[in-house]
């Protein structure tokens, strides 16, 4: 399983390319993008600020993928998480999982997202309202 992990500060450019060596072997590619919605705890917002404990976050994401790969045999997984200020409508995370069959790719995505929200040291630290003022975080 080839794993690519990145934490970035700039807008995520969705990269759907696969390692060329996998051409003809991959039968299923699942992706997931999580974006910032325009309200937080019922209040309209313009952006969310994210923070990470970056080396641990990258290492934890890799360890989660490696662990899940024992059950959901994927050929390739790419994860990009953006941090810093992310405007409404832009992606905070983009995942891609490629496998021979669909179940492994879809299950990898769903299982990873569950684990991300338990164990990966990344936080929504504050929301910005429509005037750019800080709202307290809801979670």
């Amino acid at each position: 399983m080839i794993i690519e992990i990145a934490i970035v500060h700039a807008p995520i450019v969705a990269n759907e390319s696969l390692p060329p060596a996998l051409a003809g072997t991959v039968g299923a590619v699942a992706t997931f993008a999580g974006s910032v919605r325009g309200d937080e705890a019922g209040q309209p917002i313009s952006a969310l600020d994210y923070e990470a404990y970056q080396p641990m976050a990258e290492q934890t994401m890799r360890a989660i993928i490696e662990g899940l790969g024992q059950r959901h045999a994927c050929l390739f997984v790419r994860i990009i998480h953006r941090i810093g200020t992310i405007p409404v409508g832009e992606n905070a995370i983009h995942l891609l999982a490629a496998a021979v069959h669909r179940a492994e790719a879809l299950d990898m995505i769903a299982a990873f997202m569950d684990r991300l929200k338990q164990d990966v040291p990344i936080w929504k630290v504050r929301a910005l309202d429509l005037h750019g003022q800080i709202l307290p975080p809801s979670s």
Partner: protein
Amino acid sequence: MRILFFAHLKTAANCAEAEIRIDGDIDAGQLWQHLLARFPELARYQRSVRFARNGTYAVAGTRFSDTDEVALIPPVSGG
């Protein structure tokens, strides 16, 4: 020992990083005693915070020594 604070713990500790001095190796309970002596505002978060030692979550029995980097990890909310 280098201590790292994230998210609302930065506000509670009023800093992002701190150095504390540890003799020998200590367990999580002893580490909390050191932390609360210096950062009493952390007390209300103690139940929800996990320690990470050198980038890995501490488990029952993990020991901490002066050369470790210890992060206080409040409940995460990525994605």
